[in-house]
Amino acid sequence: MNGKLPIIIGCLLLGLLYLPASGQATEDATDPPGPAFRLVRAVMCETIEGYEPRHIAVAFSVAVGRISCYTSFDGVTETTYIEHKWYRRDELVTVKRLTLRPPNWATFSSIQLREADKGPWRVEILDARNRIVRTLRFSVID
């Protein structure tokens, strides 16, 4: 009997080690939750003044020099992040990662315009799970 005791204790320890791992797998197997926020507003603008977008438009002269993608959210349940992916035609130009904090948050990303940037653009707004929340389309003109 004394000889079997260490074996029983060993099995119990192994079982304890296994339990947390199986709990994690169950959690992963559930459907991913939706975004922990609601997109209230998403616009392209020339400038941000007082945390508000100014000169909202869908065509920007390259002479403006700089443009921004403004996004505001509410219902942010936890600190998370979003991405602004800037494309010229179908070519990815830049990716900006922006933090969102509860409960409401507004954030923006900007790019400097150059002569070669003329043409159709789009900005994809993605959540932390890389899902597209909104796509904004605009043009950079003369």
Partner: protein, 478 residues
């Protein structure tokens, strides 16, 4: 010797059949036309061809040109001049005679009966004209007369030429052991060098002999003299032996003997061997002579593609083939005779790499493939799919000062396009043609035409290549 052995080692069964078949055709030509003028003319033309090749080799421009012309004309001349001989051969009674039969001389002609008959006629001073045809058809040269089918005998000849017989004045035609025609009128010779004592009967004999290979025996009515006409000469017949010699020589009666048959067999064997050697020589000169290298550019044909997939790109559209073969075959090579084919039956979606080999190349017989450039071909295949893509207006130009293009609505917002899966995976937007902003001063609506990103992408609804664009313009606030 080693070269010859290596050549023989590369022979295919088709090459052997090629040589044997053509040798046999040549041999049949000899068998069917031997003894006629046609064969001699053909031999002459062959000799001319040899001279022509020599002239070309020596660089004699005019000579080779003239001989080439003569050879070309000779083919026409043969058909026109020797039409009767050709027809005799081609109108053979059966296929056997044309393809593998050996025309035999009618050795059964009763020479003795003819000799006795001729000398009885001469003794009795009965004029006679006897035609013994050779290989050529004489019936077209003889006019009138009566068809006859009597067995040749001394009595038959005497009765035909007996003065009381209505057909005694004409010629009797003897073929084999039969009298086939009597009372025939022969063409008269126009020669003016005939002896004065020769009358119309001799002139007729000379006329037929000149125009054919027939032997014509004339018995003079006035003097009882016997003369044989052959080709363009008269042969006086002084005795039985002389007549027998002429007859046997003409009829080929010597072959009747076993010695004659042996001689004939030997002659045909030699002819067959000569034909075989000639054709083998010609074949080697054509197929293996003067090994030449050539490279040709051939379009690559893609076959057996899965109908559900499209060829998106290929590394090459044509391949360069390095071929070797005889100079004659290379010179006569035509582009359509060489093909390069690639079987896409086992190709999968994506980039497929194929190694080209002899199996991909179709060549005419006698040519060999040395190299293929490039040895590998890459073919990208893809599956066509439909995809809904958002439409975006491609604005250009400049808005009038102080204005902002605030918003745009496109109808329909999405368009369905069809194209290759891999191509469409890289496309996320359909753009319109460039729309100028310069003339826009207030909000409004316009129609814009869509542009497609590549030739491999098309609209599912071909007619719907336009979208309605509503735009809002407002004044820029300070």
């Amino acid at each position: 010797m080693n070269t010859l052995l290596s050549l023989l080692g590369t022979l295919r069964w088709q090459d052997v059949v090629d040589v044997l078949l053509n040798s046999y055709i040549l041999f049949r030509f000899y068998v069917l036309f031997r003894g006629t003028v046609v064969l001699r003319v053909l031999a002459g033309i062959a000799l001319l061809w040899v001279f022509q090749r020599l002239a070309v080799g020596m660089g004699l421009i005019v000579t080779s040109w003239a001989m080439q012309g003569i050879i070309a004309g000779a083919a026409l001349i043969i058909i026109i001049v020797f039409r009767n001989e050709l027809r005799n051969v081609l109108q053979a009674k059966n296929l056997r005679a044309l393809l593998w039969g050996f025309p035999q001389q009618h050795v059964a002609t009763p020479v003795e009966a003819i000799i006795e008959g001729v000398y009885d006629l001469a003794r009795k001073r009965i004029g006679a004209l006897i035609v013994l045809p050779g290989r050529e058809n004489v019936h077209e040269l003889i006019q009138g007369g009566v068809q006859w089918d009597g067995k040749v005998s001394k009595e038959m000849l005497l009765s035909i030429f007996w003065n009381g017989n209505p057909v005694h004045d004409g010629a009797a035609v003897l073929e084999g052991n039969r009298v086939t025609r009597v009372g025939g009128i022969l063409p008269l010779s126009l020669r003016d060098d005939l002896p004065r004592q020769y009358g119309t009967r001799h002139r007729a004999a000379a006329g037929l002999a000149e125009q054919s290979d027939a032997l014509v025996i004339v018995v003079s009515e006035e003097r009882g003299r016997v003369v044989a006409a052959k080709n363009s000469r008269f042969i006086p017949i002084d005795d039985n032996l002389s007549l027998k010699r002429q007859l046997t020589e003409h009829l080929g009666a010597a072959r009747d003997s076993s010695k004659g048959r042996l001689h004939e067999s030997r002659k045909l064997t030699v002819a067959a061997a000569v034909c075989l050697l000639c054709m083998a020589g010609i074949w080697f000169s054509f197929a293996r002579g003067m090994e030449t290298l050539v490279s040709v550019e051939v379009p690559l044909e893609y076959l057996n593609r899965d109908p559900r997939m499209q060829i998106m790109s290929t590394s090459v559209n044509s391949v360069r083939l390095h071929l070797s073969g005889s100079n004659a075959l290379i010179s006569s090579l035509r582009p359509y005779q060489v093909k390069a084919k690639l079987d896409l039956g086992k190709a999968v979606s994506g980039v497929n790499t194929f190694t080209l080999s002899e199996e991909n190349i179709v060549l005419p017989p006698g040519l060999w493939l040395s190299r293929i450039e490039p040895p590998e071909v890459r073919v990208a295949l893809d599956m066509p799919i439909n995809k809904d893509l958002p439409v975006q207006v491609d604005w250009v130009g400049t808005l009038p000062s102080g204005l902002l293009l605030e918003s745009v609505t496109v109808t329909p917002a999405k368009i369905t396009v069809a194209g290759a899966q891999r191509t469409l995976a890289q496309i996320s937007t359909i753009y319109t043609e460039k729309v100028r902003l310069d003339d826009l001063a207030a909000s409004g609506q316009l129609t814009a035409v869509l542009t497609l990103n590549g030739a491999s992408v098309r609209l599912v609804e071909a007619g719907r290549d336009r979208v309605e664009v509503r735009y809002t313009i407002r004044r820029r606030t300070p």
